[in-house]
């Protein structure tokens, strides 16, 4: 017999937002940007977040000629930007697979797409792309960092503004109004 698990609701901007199961929403929000909000039926925000993250990520990949997302963590290079980029979810997973295969000395896949480069290759990329490599890296990092904010929104609901003291007490787990979200 299935057990009934009540979903979590918050009141924001005088609207009741049903977060359903926040952990599931957060997981989907990480996997596919916007999917967590789609699961919560916050469709407009799902579309906005999806468009924003994917467009900036794609723009970064175009500026960086598809070479700016890779995972590498060894004595040669510690790829810190990947910690931000991985926030974009499943679209960065090829880099993890390539890094794993690289450490196991297995042949790389997909014509070495998102494969960690050697130091010599990295120098060539920097020379060929000039600032495009750094700007592409920055764009994809921002896409990932934005998705961390989005995951947070899917899990907890919208945060109050930092300096907005009037919003204190607006959030509640016992909503008194039956308004529905915009999505």
């Amino acid at each position: 017999m299935a057990t009934y698990k009540p979903s979590k609701t918050v009141v924001v901007d005088e609207m009741t937002v049903d977060l359903k199961v926040p952990a599931i929403a957060a997981f989907w929000a990480w996997m596919i940007p916007g999917a967590g909000h789609f699961y919560q039926r916050r469709y407009r925000k799902a579309a906005l977040f999806s468009f924003c993250v994917f467009s900036i990520y794609l723009l970064g990949m175009l500026i960086g000629a598809g070479k700016v997302v890779y995972a590498k963590w060894d004595v040669e290079e510690k790829r810190w930007p990947f910690l931000c980029q991985v926030g974009s979810g499943i679209i960065t997973f090829p880099a993890v697979i390539q890094a794993y295969r690289n450490t196991k000395n297995q042949p790389l896949l997909w014509n070495e797409f998102m494969a960690p480069p050697t130091a010599q290759k990295l120098s060539e990329w920097n020379r060929e792309l000039a600032s495009g490599f750094d700007i592409g890296t920055l764009y994809t990092m921002v896409a990932g960092l934005m998705n961390y904010l989005i995951i947070f929104d899917a899990f907890f609901g919208p945060l109050p503004m930092p300096a907005d003291s009037s919003s204190k007490g607006k959030k509640s787990n016992n909503p008194s109004k039956d308004d529905t979200p915009t999505g």
């Binding site: 924001v12 916050r42 924003c52 467009s55 609901g157």
Partner: protein, 64 residues
């Protein structure tokens, strides 16, 4: 004094500015009108913040 980079580089900040402003606003509000208002305010704030840093660095560069 001339800018030591192409001004077109500044255009690269524009997509980031627009997208981040809307994402930030949408993680603070649920109502569409409030998201748009907050997004616009955030964009102005970021532009003013970066602009002021640019101005200070430009003034310093005049003295060099």
């Amino acid at each position: 004094m001339t800018l030591q980079m192409s001004p077109t580089y500044l255009l690269l900040a524009l997509p980031l500015l627009v997208v981040f402003s809307f994402v930030y606003a949408a993680t603070r509000h649920e109502r569409q009108d409030l998201i748009l208002q907050q997004g616009w305010r955030t964009a102005i704030w970021i532009t003013a913040f970066l602009g002021s840093i640019f101005l200070v660095l430009w003034l310093i560069s005049l003295t060099l």
